[in-house]
Symmetry: C2
Subunit: 680 residues, 2 copies
Amino acid sequence: MEKIANGIYKITVGTPEEFTPVKVMKPVPAPTLGALDDNPCPLDEQNIRLIRGTGYVTVEIPLGDDEDIYGFGLQLKSFRQSGKKKIIRVNSDPAADLGDSHGPVPFYLSTAGYGVLVDTSRFATFYCGCVKRKGSRQEMENYPSVPSEFGAHYIHKAHSGNVFVKIPSAEGADIYVFAGSSLKDALARYNLFSGGGAFPPLWGLGILYRGWWHTDSGHVISMAREFRSDRIPCDVFGLEPGWQTHAYSCTFDWDREKYPDPAGMCREMKNMGFRMNLWEHCYTNPASPIYEELYPVSGDSYVWDGVIPDFTIKEAADAFAGHHDGIAGQGISGFKLDECDGGDFSGWGFPEFTSFPGGMDGEQMRSELGLLYQKTMLAPFEKRGLRTWGQARASHALAAPYPYVLYSDLYDHSDFVRGVATSALGGVMWSPEVRQTGSSEELIRRLQAVVFSPLAVINAYMIPSPPWKQFEHDRNLAGEFLPDADELTAACREIFELRMSLIPYLYDAFYTYHTDGVPPIRPLVTDFPDDLSVRDVWDEFLIGDSILFAPVIWGKGNHRSVYFPEGVWYGFFDGIKYCGGKKYEFDPATNEILLFTKEDSLIPFAAPVLNCDADTVFDISFRLYGKRGSCRLIADDGETLDYIKEKPEMIKICFDDEKLSGCVPNRRYAFGQVIQITER
Amino acid sequence: MEKIANGIYKITVGTPEEFTPVKVMKPVPAPTLGALDDNPCPLDEQNIRLIRGTGYVTVEIPLGDDEDIYGFGLQLKSFRQSGKKKIIRVNSDPAADLGDSHGPVPFYLSTAGYGVLVDTSRFATFYCGCVKRKGSRQEMENYPSVPSEFGAHYIHKAHSGNVFVKIPSAEGADIYVFAGSSLKDALARYNLFSGGGAFPPLWGLGILYRGWWHTDSGHVISMAREFRSDRIPCDVFGLEPGWQTHAYSCTFDWDREKYPDPAGMCREMKNMGFRMNLWEHCYTNPASPIYEELYPVSGDSYVWDGVIPDFTIKEAADAFAGHHDGIAGQGISGFKLDECDGGDFSGWGFPEFTSFPGGMDGEQMRSELGLLYQKTMLAPFEKRGLRTWGQARASHALAAPYPYVLYSDLYDHSDFVRGVATSALGGVMWSPEVRQTGSSEELIRRLQAVVFSPLAVINAYMIPSPPWKQFEHDRNLAGEFLPDADELTAACREIFELRMSLIPYLYDAFYTYHTDGVPPIRPLVTDFPDDLSVRDVWDEFLIGDSILFAPVIWGKGNHRSVYFPEGVWYGFFDGIKYCGGKKYEFDPATNEILLFTKEDSLIPFAAPVLNCDADTVFDISFRLYGKRGSCRLIADDGETLDYIKEKPEMIKICFDDEKLSGCVPNRRYAFGQVIQITER
């Protein structure tokens, strides 16, 4: 057992592989790790055992019957993982609760306060307390038998037995144990070990609108004008595949018929307060200017007739980043890295037996491609000293520091909201993006959920006009607007404005993610692992430390119950009081958002801006719940990488004894009054 | 390349594993193989290549762009397999079109007239023309590129490229190539190589009714009386888990409170014309009388607290079969072998890393357990010189000779009917069993489909009364019958009687399966591989050589089209003429079955009996379609294994020049008149 940092231990069983998440991604642990308690390893090294098979190994890791486990990165189909079998396989088409997803992670957390990373890029199978090993005759006779009743054998019973991890192709693995004082602390240590959480530019917390595939620069500019005249907050406008000369596979080259002057368009958009984001995937078409360079440093299969660059090879990463440096220089703020996951259907993706010149095979690359791609794409922005904030469709272990949020072509709203909860427990970020909808109500419910996720995305790639003008695909294409388009636009604007008002609060929560490893948006079990009532609650979220959000899932009716964990809580808008440890029933109207605040919280609430610029000044009022409270505001430049070299200016504001203190002058915030929301 | 039999070749790449379907199941090829043409191997050995990976190998097998491929055993979600990726994994919960099923088989057929068995028990992945390997720069530039249009990349295009088979854990494999004169001939050779198709007892072709889990011998007897007084054909009555002292896991021991005299009950049932079938699985409970013997020869994991016998070990198979010999001796005709597949959910099944004392691991055993279990269960019947006919929930390669039909807990009717088509192309048999339904119409549509499958099963394990008295679960439990129970009973009886009338015809078709390897019920592509119109037709079946059945899928409305392959076809009941090579539209009423007969066919049609006994004599009339026709009738004892030692009596009957010939006296059939169905 090797101590890696305070409370982080590495236990090696057998002979680990050459290519693993830690060895490929080479995480640089956050310096803040050093200040944490030096907790001892909660697992006895002797009880972590290697079972050798032909062509695979299995690692046995102790698990107590009274522990529940969570994690495995993005999981759309389930939340609590104890008792389940999960295969950690990057996949765009998860059809069932098998473990595969856009961002699965071979990492789990126990309610007993520790985390385990099995450092493998293989499609490892985790049996989470669902295997009973043969014991001696004696032991067997003492087992309580499954009752002989109709159906009893299929009823979910408490898990029992250890965790077993079958790792194909490997002869061993490094097991990293994160010893926390709590589940949240263990998770934080994992994120800090990964490098600390990604810190967004301020504009990354605004609204990202992805436009129609067939758009062109004229249409982009007119859309932007329309957004501004409709007072729709929007920070980033995203272009879908149509911007390139060829997509599927990609040339990474502007289609000059549609976009004769990309830099000019970006400047004009920037003048209206919009950053630009470009869709792409890494499968490089023969017509691309970088195809020649990538050909020799790519895998031995094609995807959509394009080569797959091996980003572990410097020449490939440099050629790819170099070309994108030119694109970024035209005024692009970030990218959407599509299809780096791979699919089971439609015959796309590269096979597992693909061989890459850097030494990985297709299975390992399928696990790592998402993060390698994300990492490669940082260079053009690092060179400029700028943060980026984008989207990616694949992730894996050690993802925390990468400024990319996952998304999907799937659309079930329960799954989408569950993804917000599970991703937070595995160091990945996920957005339940909004595309078309079948009704105004659906549009509103989906928007309410997405603005309380790491990235507020409206992906209108299939429609030329915004969904609040017309949510129906065919009518939108025909240019036919809803009769109540103005009312719907107003309702959607209100949701966006709530997000914009909370940007200062979110920005601080993200900074905590960066320095302390605590995810800004997380399910209740993160903070209340000992409360048995929250163990299956995937649809309530802590936003920062003070706000609780309970989305109304589209398609489940307007009724829902909300469980409040310990303490006293208040309605965010109306100040109604709720007691912790209880469940309350709600019937929120369509435009009503179930948002609550912990007692004794001071929430900085900004007058909504349309977008965040370098010189944006937030006009802050403070919402006080209870008698006292405090908050912190980060007052840096909001867009450069200077925060890495030098701590940003932090303003600590306190309300106590009926007065506010700490409102020191700064470049980012103007301070207004305190609004006492709750009865004195 | 080694020639195994006429037109069957073995090509070894790398070093094959010790445990594979051929090595574990040890097929005894049917003697009839010797009479077939000595076709040359259609695949060039040089083009079958091994690609080595770490902990796995990949085998590349040529595939022409103009070939379509079918197979992989039972596939519920898709029919034509070219262009798809399929993982051959035995699994009770296939949630998507990934290849896993109760009976997946690493065998495929090409429309070019050959079959390929990759002899592996691993969860092999078949990439069926969906991988494009990197070529030289030159080759690449000549590729036609995927069009740069919205969605074009996802539209299913014709497959291209070879078949690649990734085999985990292996260092090589034997590839068996079946060189047919056609797809059907290649399939037949595969089945003959497996040992020839299973030949059912006559009673196995009748109706199998599975009773309520909570039934007891009094209820069984009264149900039997009710069936007889209602004139419901039924040959076999099946008991579900409740017959044992403990189920989940099993004791294989009668619950004497419910069944005080099993042998007496079986006798009484036999007197009313019913055979008995018993549910079980092989996971053996500590309370079972054979637990002691099985403990040392079982795997090192438990399932439902029971041991998993390793049937590759003689002691385990003998102990298991020996105990079941006693049960068979009480008058049991067969068994339903449940849960030998294993599941992804609810935490049941044994893990892949389970170690079995015979040397296999859990992955290999999960592939082979179904067939090993089926094989083990033959002994009690072989000892008595009797055939058995039962159900099993798992199968794999080389299944043809085993007298077990697959079933599932799933229930989607399209999937169920598709299973009939796909299973036939992989040497396995499948029944789209009928359980509860939501309406009379659903009951009827499902029954119509199941009586044209290898096993006509009604699985009423959840309800005490037959579904035609009450299809609704709760009302059935409450003893509340439908107001129109008599009408529905009559409608169901009529469907059963059609099956009973066709038993002589089916019996001959099954005998052909046994001797010639041609499945009795099969999709059109089997016989018409060059007709491009049938390549995706999974919902039309050839029954024997003369009948075409087109089920109406429940839930899709009453309208459907029927494509007729080459030749002239007639409505089975009304003689209406249809021309081959065309599609016709039908709107069959609920009680109408779309059944057609090829021109110049003579169909032996029996007066329906309630069940088949040793002394049953079928009262045959002949239905003539066209001007002439012939048929064959098998006139053996209908239940013993004597057909193996000695060819059964076969009666060839001919109608030509307006007269019938060949009606020789025999013990099984009484001959009546010819009914000319079609206009002269």
